[in-house]
Amino acid sequence: MKDINRIIEEYKTCAILHWNASREGDYKTANKNYTKLSKKYRVFLDSEEIREAVLPQLLNDDSFAVILWAAAHSLGLGKDKDEALLKLEQISKMSANEAPSFEAKMILQVWREKGSLTF
């Protein structure tokens, strides 16, 4: 349980830092957190137990940046696809100031074109 909570907190921090850095054009910070999020994705790939415990919580986080990443990773894993798509649709309709709406649109676009997402 302790590990699960740690993973959730780290994931949230990375997702928020990634979005904030992207908005500032600070690609170094963005990419550093991208790498960390990709590592988390690989943990999810390896452990059904962890992804089942973590992703549903992240999909319902208060931060749209966290939801975006959790939804993208869910799609990549083929887990909770309907909920993930719904969340991304909602984010894509928001303003760029309050949520990563453009990124949500692009995730949906890539997902619909290719049927998969890679990280």
Partner: protein, 293 residues
Amino acid sequence: MKHKPIITKRLMISNEEKAEGQVSVIADAWNALEDEAIYIGSSENRMQSFEYGINSELPLSFLKPVTGLIETFDAAYEGEDTATQAIESAYASYDQIMMNAATFQVDERAYNDGKVPADIAGGIAMGILLDNLTSGMSFFSASPLDEIAESAAVATRSEMTVMGDVADDVAGSVGNAENAVEGVVAGESTQGKGFDSFNDAKKFLGSPGEGNQWHHIVEQSQIQRSGFETQLIQNTDNLIAIDRVTHGQISGYYSSKQAFTEGLTVRNWLSGQSYEEQFEFGIQKLQDFGVTK
């Protein structure tokens, strides 16, 4: 004067340095150059600007290989296992390496030893720069590249732009006010006039306005990366005046990796997509950054 190459520089970047972003600093500097600053020997236009240097028979190493280097740096930044070797190999293929003074600020002692590119930190005069170019003092480095990369980290986009402006003066190509097109500002465009170089486009367009810079909606690097015609990129329909800070932020965004870019930077992910797709992407990012509505 017949100039003999001073050194063959080898680039050694450890995995730790890669992880710390040293390579990305260099890649970013080159990408920034592509956007707005000067090229020395990397485009015909800039070669003309520096014919003084060319006439001296100085070797201009980055004539063509600059594209390959950017790709190599990008590859390193992508974390490819062979990146370090690839960069070493890329550098080893040259008899000498010419660094761009506008890109790299350097340590004064090294500069005085003639080992590193000209220092523009203190606002070096163009005459001095040309003197150094023709004497071979500048642009040939014997110092480890990570030292230069460290220096590059403090080079700012504004300094590069200043150098670009100075180079324009030298080439006698100050923006022609008569050709300046009013109204090429956020959201508006002219009738899509294309040019053979960014410099020509800037001459036609004139000043972007105080505190602004000309921004390519589809990046200049896509001429090489995606094979687009120069006139399509250096086109009034593809250029927009935006403030310097936002310009830097958008360029930074293109160097970032996003959830939809499949492990690539935005710039690399866009490569190979159609001009229309990249243009639409660029317009949407301008909207995101509050430049257009």
